[in-house]
Subunit: 533 residues, 2 copies
């Protein structure tokens, strides 16, 4: 076991010879503060959101550094995928799981999986095939089959972080639930796909390799989810058993944070999808563990996780904004600006087509299972879903760096083109598509105001928003709606009955066995408030 691999010895701060890194850290922390303050000031603005603010501040800082350094460097820091995957992504995804409205998520589970897994695969296929078709004719440089497939995986990863800042959980609950759920599953699918492409020998593909790939994919999904659930349950059990008639808020909060992080790192250790693991760990923790701790711990964890996630998001956008102007990469591609612009445009086109190719057909499929027009995803909503998932973000950048650079540097022309194109696509999609999303949501979903009025009634939000939910059934034992449905089509039966039955048995199992063992609402002294309320 190599010592010293956990903490870098290059982080020498106390000694004077690394004064430059202290300057960088100061500037960076100050910029984070500026992003938060400006973001707060611009909150009412109809175009801007926090992501675009951070990106813009990052770009401006890049320009200033570029000018002060005489065109030598634009970066305070090199984009590091390790920093991203080990420190910034876990709090964002964990918080997503912790704050998600669990009932809606699981009600729309089948639609979400259709969009997130099948949709991402469709998008991946179209982008990969398009890249092979177009790029081979252009003077892009040497790219192998693995590179083309990697491009497909890289640009299938939507930016759930940015999307969620635009949609509102209370105004458009169904859309939020679908887009959010899709985003998480999509992130996991892209990363799993990307790893599969990197690890498999693609020189001779046959049905055996393909089958192995699919098997590997399913194994990753199931094992990652299970690991997250087990870690969450373990934390609930430990905190419940440690009670001993005395609580310690600090210990509870520390244990929850550490065990969530441990689940993420364990998934990395076993080469699983850490994103899926920590997401399900968050769901289980909010369902069981969160009810076993003190009221102070509840308030603290709820806001501390949200704050961590918030800071990590801003950090990422600031980071991508600053990295975008890195001069080294642009120099390599400056000889052929046409190629770079062409590649970026083609990728943007493929992203638009690839997403349209699964949103509309899969929405049609999903609508077949619905009874009333209220429950269907109409065309306007479909366009919104299509649009809301067009943004590409930090996951794409991180994967692109992983595939096309060595330690943040690149010298091959083909690789440099891909890196600059990735940055162009990310910037363009985040800024242009992002700026237009708020107005589009306002144009296509004018009814959101009305829904908002309805669901702002705090006492019974569930029953009032139910018509908008996926299966439209109450999760109580009252199966009345089941008998009243108008002659379900066979496909509708196929999809809605198992979903309902599973939920019914789950509730019985949860109340009869899980909650008595692991705690949860109703099995600890009641205190009002919950992370999802």
């Amino acid at each position: 076991m190599e010592s010293g691999s956990f903490f870098p010895e290059s982080l020498r701060m106390l000694t004077t010879h690394d004064h430059a890194s202290v300057v960088s850290m100061n500037l960076f922390v100050a910029l984070l503060c500026a992003c938060i303050i400006i973001g707060h000031l611009l909150e009412e603005n109809r175009w801007m959101n926090e992501s675009i603010t951070a990106l813009a501040i990052g770009l401006c800082t890049g320009v200033v550094i570029l000018l002060t350094s005489g065109g030598k460097s634009s970066r305070l820091l090199v984009f590091s995928e390790e920093l991203f995957f080990i420190y910034l992504l876990p709090p964002i995804i964990f918080n997503a799981g912790f704050q998600v409205k669990k009932k809606q998520f699981f009600r729309n589970f089948i639609t979400i999986m259709l969009f997130g897994a099948v949709g991402t695969l469709i998008s991946f296929g179209i982008i990969s095939l398009g890249a092979i078709h177009f790029f081979q004719k252009m003077n892009v440089g040497t790219l192998k089959l693995g590179d083309y497939l990697a491009i497909g995986a890289i640009f299938s990863a939507t930016d759930s972080v940015c999307t969620l800042q635009v949609l509102n959980q209370d105004e458009t609950p169904l859309l939020y639930s679908l887009v959010f759920g899709e985003g998480v599953v999509n992130d996991a699918t892209s990363v799993v796909l990307f790893n599969a492409i990197q690890n498999f020998d693609l020189s001779h593909i046959n049905s055996g390799v393909a089958l192995e790939l699919i098997g590997n994919f399913l194994y990753l999904f199931v094992a990652s989810t299970l690991l997250g659930v087990v870690a969450g349950l373990l934390s609930a059990y430990i905190i419940k058993k440690l009670y001993f008639g005395r609580h310690s808020t600090d210990r509870e909060v520390a244990l929850m944070i550490l065990m969530a992080y441990l689940s993420y790192m364990l998934a990395e250790l076993f080469y699983l999808s850490a994103i899926l693991t920590v997401f399900f760990c968050g769901i289980v923790m909010s369902h069981y563990t969160w009810h076993n701790v003190t009221e102070s711990s509840r308030v603290t964890t709820k806001h501390a996780f949200a704050t961590l996630s918030f800071v990590a998001e801003i950090f990422i956008f600031l980071y991508v904004g600053m990295d975008a102007l890195d001069i080294e990469k642009w120099k390599i591609v400056s000889g052929s600006p046409g190629t770079s612009i062409g590649v970026s445009s083609i990728i943007l086109g493929l992203v638009l087509v690839g997403r349209a190719a699964f949103v509309f057909p899969l929405s049609f499929l999903s609508n077949l299972t619905k009874n009333s027009p209220y429950e269907k995803v109409d065309l306007k909503q479909q366009i919104t879903i299509w649009w809301a998932g067009l943004m590409r973000g930090a996951v794409s950048v991180a994967l692109a760096y992983n595939q096309f650079t060595r330690l943040g540097h690149t010298h091959l022309q083909g690789n440099a083109v891909m890196i600059t194109s990735t940055i162009t696509v990310v910037l363009f999609s985040t800024v242009v598509f992002g700026l237009m999303t708020k107005p589009i949501v306002r144009i296509f979903l004018p009814s959101s105001k009305q829904i908002n009025t309805l669901s702002s009634e705090p006492s019974t939000p569930k029953s009032l928003t139910t018509p908008l939910l996926g299966n439209g059934q109450e999760d109580t034992e009252a199966n009345a709606s089941f008998n009243n449905v108008t002659r379900p089509t066979s496909l509708r039966m196929l999809l809605s009955i198992p979903s309902h039955t599973v939920h019914h048995y789950w509730r019985k199992f949860d109340d009869g066995f899980m909650r008595p063992v692991f705690g949860g609402r109703g099995f600890v002294p009641f205190v009002p408030g919950s992370p999802t309320e």
Copy 2:
């Protein structure tokens, strides 16, 4: 500006070739969880505390790694002073400032400064002179004058972290306030001293250099404190002005954390004492900023800061425990075990003498300023203060590594002896002195139970505990006690009158100018609860 200096490229986690570091991180996070759980189980134990538990677990892990690696390595990680000073120490010291009982701290301010600054200098002088006297006769290896002075500074740094876990703020408020305040000032004094020794040319000392050293010292104290106060006030002002009729808990919490960290890094940038800066930033934030935020933000910050500090403390002890068995250093000194044991014993003796040499005389001096026997620090309390500050901890280890190693490795025999001796002294003092502190507090301060009963009355804790406070005067405008005092001695007059007057004018200034501008209790809608209550 060198890019890439902020985040190390060596932290490659995703790729398989650094699987070892993922294993290390997993093991380390799991050990942290274990420390928290075992610490909770052992809380009622009369000998153990969390520091010793973490140290013991670290040592055991070291032994296991040593055995499994076949005696090659005992470390999961190399002790990194940068990690310690940049990531672990700031939350601990900030939280100390944030949670400190401000009134008691400022009432005992003069005594605390006597102990923390003058006392540390006395201790530094005795240990340095003792080291020069004893080590030059022994076969220690080549040590220069700068090394001897560094040894004095290294072993003058008491371990406030460990001490505070033993004393209780409610049971022994005066002692806690004195020992805690001394610990913070002592940390700052040692680090400032250490830096001064490293930066100054010690080959020809004259009165000019000495004067410059003292001037530098005073400048550091004043400038660091001012920077912390300004940062705290700025955060209060920003959050007060950003209110705009709408709050955002996540933004408030994020801003408080980031601005506190920014103050620490700014102090590093200007070569100030970051410990002092972040401590005063914490005090100002709890006095102003904390009252300007939402109730959720108050609960969250209070517990989030405490949790961060708690985890950082455990992290440090686990880290020191694991590092202690590092085989490389022990191999170098294994040829002369007698020397290493001798050096450690001499240092331990010097630490005992050095602390006694200032606690008893300075307590006598402090007692001269007190009126009634209640306010005086009696012999039993003096012994407790002496004993409670004997432990040496992570600050000593970090400074020793800075002075005697290059990037965590050492090859000179003299340096290796100093490193192993530092570890021996830290382990011995933490475990042996630490284990005996709880019983000693119980033997020497049996009255603590009674005090506890008095101060557990939540409505008026201030007036009941006042007899135990430094100056024993109410901070209200009622100056009656001032006229009733029995003929103060001239020294008592000298010390107590300015202190009282300063406090009186401060209150007027605070209510008349500071609070209306920066917010604070009474100037924002009242919500019960405060971080110091």
